[in-house]
């Protein structure tokens, strides 16, 4: 580059080079615009040099390790992630302004690599917005799928791989590393594994662990621990009580990754908490006694209204809608 260029002039040229690069790859460039590109290059050797450098940088991108993991929308074998087509409709119906966040990128491989290089348990925070499901590739090869409205903190060190769920939940497909256990902490419960796949959901008053394959150890801070293997599910309530180990249907529990929600004898409060991860118009349970109402239902994310109508028809509740909130209240007896 011409050493005589001022920084401002150099920035202008670089910006123009970016504009041309973008335009060339847009799929919409006309013959007249092609001529404009030629003319711009011919104007100055600085223009040519700037574009050549940008082209080199553009070309080099496929050398970036695991760059393909930055795409979340692509079908992924590891975690079988798919983006539910219905979610956008849900967001539009709810008049969301966050529809764009549905299409998100896998993040943070580099950030986590940095923490590993330091061999320190530096924390990195990852969060998803309402309606946003994000696949996350960790540098140890583990694959995560974050539920909507979820926040986690990761800390990789030379002797442990730690993830703390602050809110929400995630599906984990953990790479094997016998030297470094993978520990997921949520609401006073630790899930410890060396390599397996499982789902952890931190609900309003409980943590549910569902193991798809391999085995995990679930423990609380009072050293109470339980072993789970593939196909088993355990719920630990906020008072520290460990529920019974039950078999679960993978399609039902993990259907959220495809925008499907399915509940078998589930608490109304837990169902509402799941739905609210996808809505700005929140659903509120007015009477605390209704929170424990047991519901069996199945619906797609875009069909919440129908699901609510179903509950209203079969349970002793009334659903009251306003522009900002949907209230579930006990039906008055006449």
């Amino acid at each position: 580059m011409n050493e005589g260029l001022t920084p401002a002039r150099r920035d202008d040229i670089d910006a123009k080079a970016r504009e041309w690069m973008s335009h060339l790859h847009s799929g919409d460039i006309t013959e007249q615009e092609q001529a404009g590109f030629h003319a711009w290059l011919a104007e100055s050797s600085d223009h040519r040099a700037a574009f050549r450098r940008l082209n080199d940088l553009w070309t080099s991108l496929d050398r970036v390790p695991h760059i393909e993991n930055q795409l979340v929308e692509a079908p992924r074998e590891a975690a079988n992630v798919t983006r539910p087509s219905g979610w956008r409709a849900v967001l539009q119906v709810a008049n969301f302004r966050v529809a764009a966040t549905l299409v998100v990128a896998v993040a943070a491989v580099v950030a986590l690599a940095t923490s590993q290089m330091k061999h320190q348990a530096d924390g990195h925070r990852f969060a998803t917005d309402l309606g946003e499901v994000r696949a996350l590739g960790l540098t140890d090869g583990s694959q995560l799928v974050l539920r909507a409205d979820t926040e986690i903190v990761t800390a990789m060190s030379s002797d442990e791989r730690a993830v703390t769920i602050q809110r929400g939940g995630a599906y984990f497909d953990v790479s094997k590393d016998k030297a470094r256990p993978f520990v997921v902490s949520a609401g006073g419960v630790d899930v410890r594994v060396h390599g397996t796949a499982f789902d952890v959901l931190k609900g309003p008053s409980s943590v549910t662990v569902s193991v798809t394959h391999g085995h995990v150890t679930v423990s609380d801070h009072a050293a109470h621990s339980v072993e789970l293997t593939g196909g088993q599910q355990l719920t630990v309530t906020e008072d520290g009580s460990f529920g019974a180990i039950v078999e679960f249907d993978t399609q039902r529990v993990l259907g959220w990754r495809d925008g499907r929600f399915s509940y078998l004898n589930a608490r109304l409060e837990d169902i509402v908490a799941d739905i609210n991860r996808y809505r700005t118009q929140k659903i509120v349970i007015e009477d605390p006694a209704l929170a424990d109402l047991r519901i069996t239902t199945m619906f797609r994310a875009e069909n919440v209204d129908q699901m609510l109508a179903g509950i209203e028809a079969t349970e002793p509740v009334t659903v009251v809608r306003s522009p900002s909130v949907i209230v579930i209240r006990r039906r008055e007896q006449h």
Partner: protein, 193 residues
Amino acid sequence: MNLRRLKSVAADARQIADARAGNLGVVERLYRDHWKNLCVRLRRVFGNGPPEPEDLAQTAFTKLIEYTDTARLNDPASFLFRIAINAGRDRRRHIVRANALIEAQFSSEDIEPVDRITPSNVYETRECIAVTEQAIATLTPKQREVLIRSRLRGETFEQIQDACGWSKADISRTLQAALGVLQSAMREYLGHE
């Protein structure tokens, strides 16, 4: 299926040059070591296709056989991925047109062919790739999505618009902003630009 593909690749190799028969042993080793992972990576970019990941992987291995000096290949996984990605992009007409436009304006000294077996420019050195990797991590999810869709998948703005709902003008601005972040990081690292 994989064995059949290997035989197909091998048949291509024999057609290319019998004299390179010694090279085939290296390719067979590379096939065993890299075929599966290459297909997994390509599936993450292109899904099940089109273009079909296995077809692109086969194209990459066929290209590999054309080289007489595969022993010099210090990063075969990266090389194969690049060849396959570009084979996928080359199936999109607008990419072929864009590449032709760029190549027509620069001499071969200015623009290196992308299928060189060794790094083509300073941006492909290990150090610069690390800088780019770190810069990508600082991009917003939207910037990353647009950048990768355009660069790896070779999607037009219209295709990105259909998939993501953003306007073409927004996509253009986002792509330029993402490239600006990468440029700034590289300028800071290299210092002299």
